[in-house]
Symmetry: C2
C-alpha cells in the first residue's frame, strides 16, 4: 500500500448560503483545494454528503459536481455515513490513491441544510438513527444524545454547568476562524442561561446546522516535504469502526467503543499514542460527545472528560487542544461536510497556518468524525515532517 | 496493488417485497454471499443504494445493515452514484482490499422502491438528472431517454420494431432465472402492441422497478483456483468514467463516451479486447441504452447496435450474449442493486452455474453499469482461470 499525503485544502464559510446551490458551494471548495495544491485537475472526486436527495432534490452528486468544476472523464461517486459522510469520503479517496487505482483525488464534503424548514431537517437528520426501533418511537437525534448525557451526569456525578468549558473553548477559538459560522465568544453565564432543547442538552451544548463545503486533494507521498509553498502533510493513520446503530443495543451506552477501536487502529498505524497527539479535532456535535470521545481515545479516564475541560487542558495551549478552529459547536456542523472541515483544520494546524489559535509546534494531529449516535466512527492521524 | 477475486455471491429475487424491510432484504443477500464464500464474516461492508433517504426514511445504511447481519466493529458506508450505485460499491470494496486496508469485504446493492407511490419514485429517480437544467424543465428520466432514442432512430434510419430483439432476448433468458422479476417470454407481437410511455419508448423498451439486493464477497487473489467448492473468479479490470450530467451538454448525444472510456480502461487492465468477451451484462434500462452500450464498447459499429440484435448475436449462443439472466429489462432494475446483480450474474456464467442460459465455455465476462443518462459508467471484467 502506498503512503498518501494531503497536497491542498479548500473550504467555504459555514453559514446560510441561500444564494448558492449545492454545486456552487462544493465547487468553491474543490477549486480552492486544487489551487492550493497547485494542480489543474485530479483523476477522481469523492463527495461526502448525507441529505441532498431529500433536502436538495439532487442525487448523483459525484457527476453533478465533477461536471460543474470541469473535471470530466474522471471517476466519482457520493459517500454517505450520516454525520461521518465527510471523513468516509476522505477515506475513500485515500484508498483509491493507496490502491494505485488513481494517482490524484479530491475528497469534498458538502451539505446545504438551511433551505429546508427546521422541522424537515430534524426529520431528515433522524434517518441516521434506526427508523424502526428509534425514530418510530419518537426519538429525534438530540433526544438520543440527551438520554446519554442525562445518564452520564447521573453515573459520574457531574453537574450540567461542568460541560460549559467545551462550548466556551469552541466559541473562543471560532472568533479567529473566518470560515466559522459563529465568530463570537460566549461566557459561563451565557451557557448557564441558554434555553433547554432536550433536557439536559441546552442550546449551547448543541452544534448548529449550516451550509458549507470543505475539500482536500490527496496524492501518493513521494518524500517531498513541500509543494506549492506548503509543507506536505502525510496521512499516518486512517481507520473506521462501527458499533450498533441504536444506543439501546449497547452493553455500555456511555462508552464509544467504535471510537476506542478506530483510534487504537489509527494509533497503531501511525506508531503513536494519545500523548503524541498535538491537536485533536473531535466530533463535538453535543458537549457530551466531546467528553465521550476524549475518554474513548485515551485522553481522559472513564467518566472524567469534563475534568480535562474544567482544567483548561482542551484550549490551544493545553495538554490536548480540541475544536481549535471552533469545532462543530462554533464553526458549525453542515453534516456531510463536517468530517472534511476537521481534516483541513488539522492540516492548517500542521502547516502552522492557524493564526491566533495556532498550537505551538503542532506536528501530529488527529481528526475524529462520528456518524449516528456513536455508531460509525472515523479516526485520521496526520503528520508533518 | 493486490489482485482481487470474488469468493462468494448472494441475491434475493427482484419483486415487490412488501413483507421485508430494507435491512432484511440486504441482509439476505449478504448472508447468502458469506455462506457461498464459506466464511463467517468480513472486515468491511460497502452498500450501494440510491434512494433510501427519501423512499425508506433511512440513511446510514452501512451501519444499519452491518449491525443487522451481526458484522459489528467493521468498516462500512453507503455509496451513491444513481443507477450505478451497485457497481460503485463493488469498486469501493475492490479498492479497500486492493489497497491492503482490508483483507475481506462485501459489496451489497439494495433498493426498495415499491413501497412508494409510482409518482414519488419517478420524482426520486429524476434526482439522478440535473435538478436545475433538466428536471425543472419538466424532464423525467424516461423522457430524457426517449429524446435520445428518437434522435437515434432518425439519425441511423431504424424503425422502432427493430429494437424488439433486445427485449425478447432479455425475457427469454429471464424465464430460466428464479431471481428475475418477470420469468415470462414475450413475442414480437407483444412488443409491437405494447403501450407507449414516452414516444418512442414503449413499456417493453423500459426496465421495471422492483425491490432487491445482491452481494459479493471480495478477497485478495491468492492463486487458489477453487474455494468452498466454487471456481474463484478474478477481477481482471475495473474502471469508471463520467460524462456531463446532462445529455444536452454533450457534443455527441448518441455516443456513450463514458462507456467507451471505462471499457477501454478495463480492456487494457485485463489485457483483452471486445473479441475476447464471452458474455456482457450491460445496462439495458431502455433498449436504446443496450444499443449505445454495445457500440461504445466496440461490439458494433456506430449506429449499428440493432443489427447485432436482429441477427441473433446477443442470445446465449450468439457472438456477444447480453442480459443472459434477464438483464435490467426482465430480471428487473432495483436501481442501487442493479450493478451488483450484473456482477453476480457474470460470476454465475464464469462458474458455469447459469443453467439453461449458460454460455458455452464462458471464461471472460464483462459487466457495465450506468448512472444517470450515460453520465457515470462502471465497467468490470471478470475471468476464471
Amino acid at each position: 500500500m502506498r503512503e498518501v499525503a494531503v497536497l491542498g485544502i479548500g473550504q467555504t464559510r459555514v453559514e446560510e448560503h441561500w444564494d448558492k446551490s449545492l454545486r456552487v458551494l462544493a465547487g468553491e471548495a474543490v477549486l480552492a483545494a486544487l489551487q492550493d495544491a497547485g494542480i489543474p485537475g485530479v483523476e477522481g472526486i469523492f463527495v461526502g454528503n448525507m441529505m441532498s436527495g431529500s433536502a436538495n432534490h439532487q442525487q448523483h452528486l459525484g457527476t453533478y459536481i465533477a461536471d460543474w468544476v470541469g473535471l470530466r472523464y474522471t471517476e466519482t461517486f457520493k459517500i454517505e455515513a450520516a454525520c461521518a459522510s465527510g471523513s468516509s469520503a476522505f477515506r475513500t479517496a485515500l484508498m483509491a490513491v493507496a490502491s494505485g487505482e488513481l494517482d490524484t483525488a479530491v475528497a469534498v464534503g458538502v451539505e446545504k441544510m438551511t433551505d429546508s424548514p427546521a422541522g424537515e431537517i430534524t426529520a431528515q437528520l433522524a434517518t441516521a438513527a434506526d427508523a424502526d426501533w428509534e425514530v418510530d418511537q419518537g426519538l429525534s437525534f438530540v433526544a438520543i444524545n440527551a438520554l446519554v448525557m442525562r445518564r452520564y451526569i447521573h453515573e459520574y456525578k457531574w453537574e450540567h454547568d461542568h460541560f460549559a468549558p467545551f462550548s466556551i473553548n469552541a466559541h473562543a477559538n471560532a472568533v479567529h476562524n473566518p470560515f466559522a459560522r459563529f465568530q463570537e465568544a460566549i461566557s459561563e453565564a451565557d451557557y448557564h442561561r441558554s434555553p433547554m432543547i432536550a433536557e439536559p442538552i441546552n442550546l449551547l451544548d448543541a452544534s448548529p446546522m449550516g451550509d458549507g463545503a470543505a475539500a482536500a486533494v490527496v496524492v501518493p507521498f513521494e518524500h517531498l516535504h513541500r509543494a506549492n509553498g506548503h509543507p506536505i502533510i502525510r496521512v499516518a493513520g486512517s481507520a473506521a469502526a462501527i458499533d450498533t446503530i441504536a444506543v439501546h443495543s449497547r452493553r455500555e451506552p456511555l462508552w464509544l467503543r467504535a471510537a476506542e477501536l478506530s483510534s487504537k487502529l489509527a494509533y497503531a498505524q501511525a506508531k503513536v499514542g494519545p500523548d503524541d497527539i498535538d491537536i485533536f479535532e473531535l466530533h463535538d456535535a453535543f458537549t457530551i460527545m466531546a467528553t465521550l470521545s476524549l475518554e474513548a481515545c485515551g485522553f481522559a479516564e472513564r467518566g472524567q472528560g469534563p475534568r480535562l475541560a474544567l482544567d483548561g487542558e482542551i484550549r490551544p495551549n493545553g495538554r490536548i487542544p480540541i475544536a481549535t478552529r471552533g469545532g462543530l459547536k462554533a464553526r458549525g456542523h453542515p453534516v456531510g461536510a463536517t468530517g472534511m472541515y476537521q481534516i483541513i483544520e488539522v492540516v492548517q494546524q500542521l502547516r502552522h497556518e492557524a493564526g491566533e489559535t495556532q498550537v505551538d509546534g503542532a506536528r501530529i494531529g488527529m481528526a475524529q468524525n462520528i456518524g449516528g449516535s456513536g455508531s460509525n466512527i472515523y479516526t485520521h492521524i496526520l503528520r508533518s515532517d
